[in-house]
Symmetry: C2
Subunit: 481 residues, 2 copies
Amino acid sequence: METTEQSHSAQFLDHQLQDIISLLEKQSIERNLVQRGPTINHDIIAAMLQNQQQTRLQEKLAQLHPADCALILESLPLDERQIVWSAIKSNHDGQILLEVSDAVRQTLISGMAVEELASVAGKLNTDEIADLAANLPKRTMLKILRSLNSEDRQHLNNILSYQETQVGALMDFGMITIRNDLTLKAITAYIRRLGKLPSHTDKLFVVDQNNIVLGILPLQRLLTHLPSQQVAEVMVTDFVRFKIDQETAEAARAFERYDLISAPVVDQEGKLQGRLCVDHILDYIREKSNEDLLSHAGVGEEEDLFSSVWKSAKNRWGWLLINIATAFASTRIIGVFEDIILQLVALASLMPIIAAMGGNTGNQTSMLIIRSLALGQVTPSNVKRMIKKELKLAIINGIFIGIIMGIISLLIYRDIALSIVMTTAMFINLIVAVIFGLSIPLLRHQFGKDPAVGTSVILTAITDSMGFFIFLGLASIFLIK
Amino acid sequence: METTEQSHSAQFLDHQLQDIISLLEKQSIERNLVQRGPTINHDIIAAMLQNQQQTRLQEKLAQLHPADCALILESLPLDERQIVWSAIKSNHDGQILLEVSDAVRQTLISGMAVEELASVAGKLNTDEIADLAANLPKRTMLKILRSLNSEDRQHLNNILSYQETQVGALMDFGMITIRNDLTLKAITAYIRRLGKLPSHTDKLFVVDQNNIVLGILPLQRLLTHLPSQQVAEVMVTDFVRFKIDQETAEAARAFERYDLISAPVVDQEGKLQGRLCVDHILDYIREKSNEDLLSHAGVGEEEDLFSSVWKSAKNRWGWLLINIATAFASTRIIGVFEDIILQLVALASLMPIIAAMGGNTGNQTSMLIIRSLALGQVTPSNVKRMIKKELKLAIINGIFIGIIMGIISLLIYRDIALSIVMTTAMFINLIVAVIFGLSIPLLRHQFGKDPAVGTSVILTAITDSMGFFIFLGLASIFLIK
């Protein structure tokens, strides 16, 4: 009896591990592609399944880069994720927590004890602890805060005092500062003594006794100039620095435009506060574009692929409820015109087309404006011209699409008056769509709101109701006796 | 008479320059924010307007970073763009052409003579010429090719032989290669002799006599190890390298995961072919996310804000024509049920709601799948679980939203049978929407196509027609006597 049970449970674990193994194998294929060092040996994986699975799994996972472990965790259903997570237990725990998405991080942290979490977080830099802070229980945070020295605690408080959209929240403290009266030889000796530079160190920051940034010394210059030269002679004084309360979006654009790897972050007086690196900017851009895409499709936040059904449902209901409201509101207009539909039932088939095409053209316009706003290309001096151009385009589109619609409906219903109403309604609704497609994001931007959020919902509600109203209204005037 | 005309034309130019100036001013504000060296003096700008405008403008522009000039050109209408472009004429011409978007580049190049273009391009690196190649007239390309030495010509041919989605098209040749039997001291001397390192050089590539990459030497290690040590002792052999024909999307994910700045690109035999840098990856990610957003909104390519109305129209018609076709096709179903609508006209008001809600939930599901596919999180082993979860969610959503719909329509029409049909139709259409929202992107991915392209169009067409069909079909069975 015992043996059967044992083999049963072994079989069950086998089954779960099979999935993990196939993931690891896929991982190994991907690694082969990017060719990062030794690839995973398939024999070892087969052996893992036979016996000593936990130990083997542990060894296997220990060889992986934290980002690869994170990807595996992301791709696993909750129960298997827990098995792998408890098998990981390495020095990289904290790094892995940093790499996974918010939703997955929550599931991993929820199963950990306060002490365990505090010890994991204790191995991280202050800027990394700050990244985790939102997901950590209060008791854990207090424990971590007590374990930090006063400088680190101040760093942590500093980062946490900025909003997610500000440079201050994204900076780290891995900067090397030097004085400008030293020779390059002294700097080289200093670096050798340090033994290791923080990642993404492509330049050293030159500061005065008040910690004000005077210039930067790219490692490149350190290597190409004579050791006897002074930092002051070699340093670059025309460099990009960011204010600590500046918008991250702006900083990201500067990184793209000036091809930066790292840059100093300063306070209002020019004092060095931290450092901004391209890897964080890359993460920021990816996250922002994911958010934009998801919010455009009406998904609240990033979702864990395997989060509970209820959690996912809640994440999607917000938008769906708004849509129910706008859908009922706009179709109430149809209710007003029910008599007209009874007299000419063809209207019922044609009205959704007017509404849908309005939504589509409006969305094209609004998306182009939103993108131009995001790239900083829209200025007060050119916005008038842009509006003029889009309106011209709307007129051309209106005539073109209106006539096509008219012809198709003529072919279907053989009713010239109906076709003319169709063409006219399409024309007017396209103009309406473009006007609102332009003005909603521009106005939101004007009032300091993110132009992307919600534009599509409001726009669709307007183009739907206006589409029904214009079409049925024109029909009631010109078609119904 | 002459004076009046002169002052007229001066006034006209003044007017145009005013716009440019305001842009420059805005530029200066932004520069202040990112604090990149000296800011633009407003007095100078005012003086520019008074007299000697062209010369002043020229001086002003010469001080700007190529990326800043590019932004100004992007934000200007066509005629003013030409004035500024002809005022630029600096050594940075080529860099600016590289920074502007494809659409704007076309407008700038179209006004240049073959000789002029060839001389501008001649100042660029081969990988930069390759970036411009698609926009250059054939005659210019021939002229440039003739002016290159055989190594550069081979590099250029190499890049151009890869597709835009492959690593080979994105690489550059700014790599420094060293042998592993040298001492660090010799390497340092070598770098000093070079005098300048290519931008984004964070590591040197260690190759053997056959140009096969053996390892990398991060500048950090060069600085922290003893000069007497050999490269072979200090170099890193566990590093990320990319195959030249690998997908760029994959490379971008590797850059994000392993926080890379640069990495070697090798051919099938491991021979060094080029280098991939984070600045190009950043541009790639930004461009890809822009494309995704725009294609989701039905805009063909990136559009120049001020390209001619006709050009923009053509860019948007493709999608709109497809939409006309799908809209007419799906509403033909309504035509089939016209008799039923005549018997119960409330159906005309309610049917667009069923269709719209189906489209919305389907889009939520498909967007989450598309994003997970893009992040490489979907594997054969977990796809079944994901499908199960989304279907469960669809059932919950269907019950929840269906009941809400039923209640609202009961309040409006006070007809219990109609409410039950509404609830049932909503439930079924949500299940249909999620099934197609799952399967369209997954199938496209299975067959090696981009899951994002077109999914939304096909999905909306299906949820619309199925929505109408299910609702009106149920109504004809249960409501009509």
